[in-house]
């Protein structure tokens, strides 16, 4: 245990995902030794990101305004929606330059043991987006692991009565990994080779 504010910093850092007590301590001492101007910039960015960034009203991607960059771009195809788990997956798919439609960010994946069910994700909002019939294709780009597969099969079942084409990324994406680790070429190929799913 360290004194007062140093321990507070270690505790705060330790609450971040992927950071254990040892890493938290290492980062805390890095900050203590760092240039005050650098630390001020980091603190300012942390506050700004919470104040200025919001979630897109349509797709729940991170946005600097009410709508994200993609939903407010008139050149994007509004008949296709690519469903992803997190905003970082939007970035991964955008890097491939294979996709010109819009997105829907679920905010996670179904995981009953983790206490996450369909109602905890932006699934109701997705169904509402599909209601007016202007979307004709849905691409399920959830992670190629169990949680992502379960989420995709749940969505495919819910959406089946709506009569639109539902496809799932396929070829080249090995099961078990996270989408964010797929390189652009593999992910691009998976988009091209997507297969239609029927629940």
């Amino acid at each position: 245990m360290y004194e007062g504010v140093v321990q507070d910093l270690i505790d705060e850092l330790g609450m971040l995902p992927g950071i254990g007590p040892k890493s938290a301590q290492r980062i805390a001492f890095h900050i203590l030794a760092a240039d005050p101007a650098d630390v001020r910039r980091l603190a300012k960015t942390l506050i700004e990101v919470k104040e200025k960034v919001q979630f897109c009203r349509i797709c729940f991607n991170v946005a600097q305004a009410e709508l994200c960059r993609i939903c407010s771009d008139p050149r994007r195809d509004t008949t296709v929606i690519c469903v992803v788990e997190e905003s970082k997956d939007v970035v991964a798919v955008e890097r491939t330059r294979e996709f010109r439609g819009r997105y829907h960010v679920l905010g996670g994946a179904i995981n009953p043991i983790g206490g996450v069910g369909p109602d905890d994700l932006h699934i109701r909002e997705l169904i509402a987006r599909l209601a007016d019939g202007s979307v004709t294709e849905l691409i399920l780009a959830t992670d190629p692991n169990t949680e992502g597969e379960v989420t995709a099969s749940y969505l495919a079942r819910q959406i089946a009565p709506m009569g639109l084409t539902v496809s799932r990324l396929a070829s080249g994406l090995p099961m078990g990994g996270d989408l964010e680790w797929a390189d652009e070429v593999t992910l691009g190929r998976a988009f091209e080779g997507r297969r239609t799913v029927s629940p």
């Binding site: 169990t146 680790w181 593999t186």
Partner: protein
């Protein structure tokens, strides 16, 4: 034993650092074990999908100095998790089985062979689709509780041994109770639901499958109440269970 081999079912995984996961395993000989699978979240990982929840694998593990082992090899025995991921209802039933198994193995590295065999059998039956998933789950839960020392008395009165069936269940007392012994707080139950519970516990599938939806709902409610009574905290997966 720095390196050891065992077979096991993946109960749960959680991310660790950038690309690793901690995998909670229920092994045949070593009970519940937690191990690190390095680099598993990269799409190039040699583990592939073999260490996802409900996968049944042959493992090579390295025992470290901490409570965490390291998975060095995983060979697939049966891909129950992958089969069940394609069916939301059956996946939620499997999730309840996995979480129950974790909760009933309270100590790490304490073998629980009968529970392990029940879990493998339960997942296999669920994945095969040969019986309704709700009945498979309830049969697993009743038997899992029984081999863990919380068997539900379903044939005779749990207090005096008066042969049943009796239309009352006392969760606290541990089974059916006759009219004379019936304690305050015992639940009324139909004889059909009590009969179904007995069929599920004894493995009489023909009898169990002859029941109607109402009886199944009633007996499922009794199993859930009994399970929650014996596990101190509620199961996280249970509210998400989808019964067909």
């Amino acid at each position: 034993m720095p390196v050891y081999r065992d077979e096991g079912v993946v109960l749960r995984t959680m991310p660790l650092g950038e690309a690793d996961r901690i995998v909670t395993l229920f092994t045949r000989r070593n009970g519940r074990v937690r191990a690190v699978a390095k680099g598993i979240r990269r799409t190039s990982s040699r583990f592939g999908a073999r260490l996802e929840p409900a996968m049944y694998v042959d493992l090579q593990l390295h025992q470290g100095r901490s409570s965490l082992d390291t998975v060095t090899q995983a060979v697939l025995l049966a891909p129950y998790g992958a089969v069940l991921a394609g069916d939301y209802g059956r996946h939620t039933a499997a999730a309840v089985m996995l979480e129950t198994s974790e909760r009933l193995t309270s100590e790490e590295r304490e073998p629980a062979l009968r529970l392990f065999l029940l879990l493998v059998g339960g997942l296999r039956t669920l994945a095969s689709g040969e019986h309704p998933s709700g009945l498979v789950l309830d049969a697993f839960l009743l038997r899992a509780l029984a081999v863990s020392g919380y068997g539900m008395a379903l044939d005779d009165c749990v207090h005096c041994g008066e042969p049943g069936p009796h239309p009352s269940v006392s969760v606290a007392a541990g089974g059916i109770v006759c009219p004379r012994c019936r304690p305050r707080g015992a639940a009324s139950a139909s004889l059909a639901a009590v009969g179904l519970l007995a069929d599920l516990l004894h493995g009489d599938w023909a009898g169990a499958e002859a029941t109607d939806a109402r009886t199944r709902r009633e007996s499922a409610g009794l199993v859930a109440a009994y399970l929650q009574w014996h596990l101190e905290r509620g199961l996280r997966a249970l509210p998400h269970l989808e019964r067909a």
